[in-house]
Each structure stands twice: as structure tokens, then as C-alpha cells.
Amino acid sequence: MLENYLPVLMFIIVGLVFGALPLIAGFVLGPRRPHPEKQAPYECGFEAFEDSRMKFDVRYYLVALLFILFDLEIAFLFPWAVVLEDIGLFGIAAMGLFVGLLVIGLLYEWQKGALEWE
């Protein structure tokens, strides 16, 4: 069973090498002539006006939260799709109720205007 994951492991290793190699190559091969002016932060030619970290609006958070909820729903759909033939009508009804409840949630979101961006 675990053999199936060998390609995944290969991918991880290849990905690591692929990401690390250019960095190392640049570090080793590139010319390095440091200068304080090069290090200075700027935006469009000016000195930076403010800290780049600023407060996000709370609505981003709401979007992310709603995304998690529906992402979880998807996670429950995977095993269901795999065994659908075994569990028959009962399984379909069970998932129907599950999705139905979340459809009500979606309706609620929609009507409350949580899906709109002002």
C-alpha cells in the first residue's frame, strides 16, 4: 500500500531540490557587492511611507471562515464518493441531509449579504 506513495515522496524530493538548487546556485555563483543603498527599502522611488503590515478588514476573515466550512464539507464528500456503490440509498440520503443543511447555511449567507463585497 505504502508503495503507492513512492511517487509522492519522489515529488517531494524533486520539489525540494528544485526549490533549493537555484538559491544555492545564486548564492555560490552570483557576484556579491553589497552596498547600503541597495538594502534600503523603497516604494516607487520614495522612502517607505508606512509599515507594510497593515490591518486587514474583518470581512476577509469571514470569507476565510466560510471557505473552511465548505472545504470541510468537500473533505466529507471524498470517502462518500468512493464507497457510494456499497452504501446504497441510505448513504445517498445521509449525504443529502448533510448537504441540505449546508445549503440552508448558504441560503442564510446569501440573504444576509455575507457573499457580497461592499
Binding site: Y61, L62, D71, L72, I87, G105, E109, A114
Partner: protein, 204 residues
């Protein structure tokens, strides 16, 4: 081979977890948490809990971490102030952690607890993990499964009721039907220009 992989990923997991609580920049901490989740997912796959491993990546790495990053950005945290209590509470923390470690060691070493090959059955070789979960989740465990759906619905209601309270007055919003039903008269104004004087008479 399997053991080598285990120790490799467990090592990275421990490293990432330590970094989560020790790096200064909270965004880096969140990214190290992603690394920790990945490694934990690999460990789960190694013991045969494939579905949980994949769910960890899909749900936690994909969604929860996005939320964490949003929260971090939203809070505008003062990292220096957050670290103030660190040394003060360190001894207590060490004592608590030590106690928990001790408990775990007692449990693992006790003769009554046969962790290897105990009561928990070995993962079956014929049915893979996702099938096994699917076969019980929607039948024998249908009651908890539906409760989970209700909790998700509750989470939607709670999140929206806490964040969407008032309509702010000065926000611009798109009203698509209004945009589509707009007529020429609402957007276009014809102005008569006096040709002789070549001057605009921009009366209404």
C-alpha cells in the same frame, strides 16, 4: 526504509513545531505550522491513516492556515509585547510540560497498556483506509455525521452574526440588477453648445 522515512519526517516535524513557538515573526510561525502539518500528514499516511493525512492537508493546510494568516494580519500584533511574559511563565510551562511528558511515559511503559498490537486492530490489507472510513461513516456513524453537519451550519450562523452586524454607511457596493437596468437618461446628459460664441453654456 519505512523507519528511515518516519524518523526523517518526524525530525522535520519536531523542528517545525519548535520553530512555530520560537520564531519572532508570527507569519513565519504560521508558515512553520504549515510545514508541521505536512509532516504530520506524512506520518499519518505512514501508519495507514491515509484519509486523515489527506484531510489534514486539504483542510488544515488549505483552509485553516489561510484563516490563521488572515487573523495574524488582522490583529496587527505587537510581537515584543507578546514575548514579555515568556520568560516569566517559562518555569511554570516547563513544569506542566514535564508533568505531561511524565504521564505519557508512565502510560507508554505501563504493562497494562500494550500499545503495540493492543486492542486496536491492524489496518486491513484488503480494504484501504478511505473505503473503510466511508463504509462506516455514512451508515453506522450517520448520527454523529449529521451532527457534524449541524455544527457546520451553526458555525456559519455564529460567524455571520458576529461579523456582519451593521451595514457601514460609506462603503461602495455593486448592485448588479441596478447596473443592468440603467437607462440612457440616467447616464448621459446632452448639452447644447452655442456655436456663435464658441462658449459653453453649461446650464443644467
Amino acid at each position: 526504509m519505512e523507519q528511515v522515512i518516519f524518523y526523517l519526517f518526524a525530525g522535520v516535524l519536531l523542528f517545525a513545531a519548535t520553530m512555530v513557538i520560537s520564531v519572532r515573526n508570527p507569519v513565519y510561525a504560521a508558515l512553520f505550522l504549515v510545514l508541521a502539518f505536512f509532516n504530520a500528514a506524512v506520518l499519518w499516511v505512514l501508519v495507514g491513516a491515509e484519509f486523515l493525512g489527506l484531510a489534514l492537508i486539504v483542510v488544515y493546510v488549505g483552509a485553516v492556515m489561510v484563516l490563521f494568516l488572515f487573523v495574524l494580519m488582522m490583529l496587527d500584533v505587537n510581537t515584543a509585547a507578546m514575548r514579555e511574559g515568556f520568560t516569566r511563565y517559562l518555569p511554570v510551562g516547563v513544569v506542566v510540560a514535564g508533568l505531561m511528558l511524565l504521564q505519557l511515559i508512565v502510560v507508554i511503559l505501563s504493562e497494562q497498556v500494550d500499545l503495540i498490537g493492543g486492542l486496536i486492530p491492524e489496518p486491513s490489507a484488503e480494504v484501504d483506509n478511505v473505503h473503510a472510513i466511508g463504509q462506516v461513516l455514512y451508515t453506522a456513524y450517520v448520527y454523529p455525521f449529521e451532527i457534524a453537519a449541524v455544527i457546520l451550519l451553526l458555525a456559519i450562523v455564529a460567524a455571520i452574526s458576529l461579523t456582519m452586524r451593521r451595514q457601514r454607511p460609506n462603503t461602495q457596493r455593486q448592485d448588479v440588477p441596478k447596473q443592468l437596468s440603467v437607462t440612457k437618461e440616467q447616464r448621459l446628459r446632452l448639452v447644447q453648445i452655442d456655436k456663435k460664441n464658441r462658449r459653453h453654456t453649461s446650464d443644467t
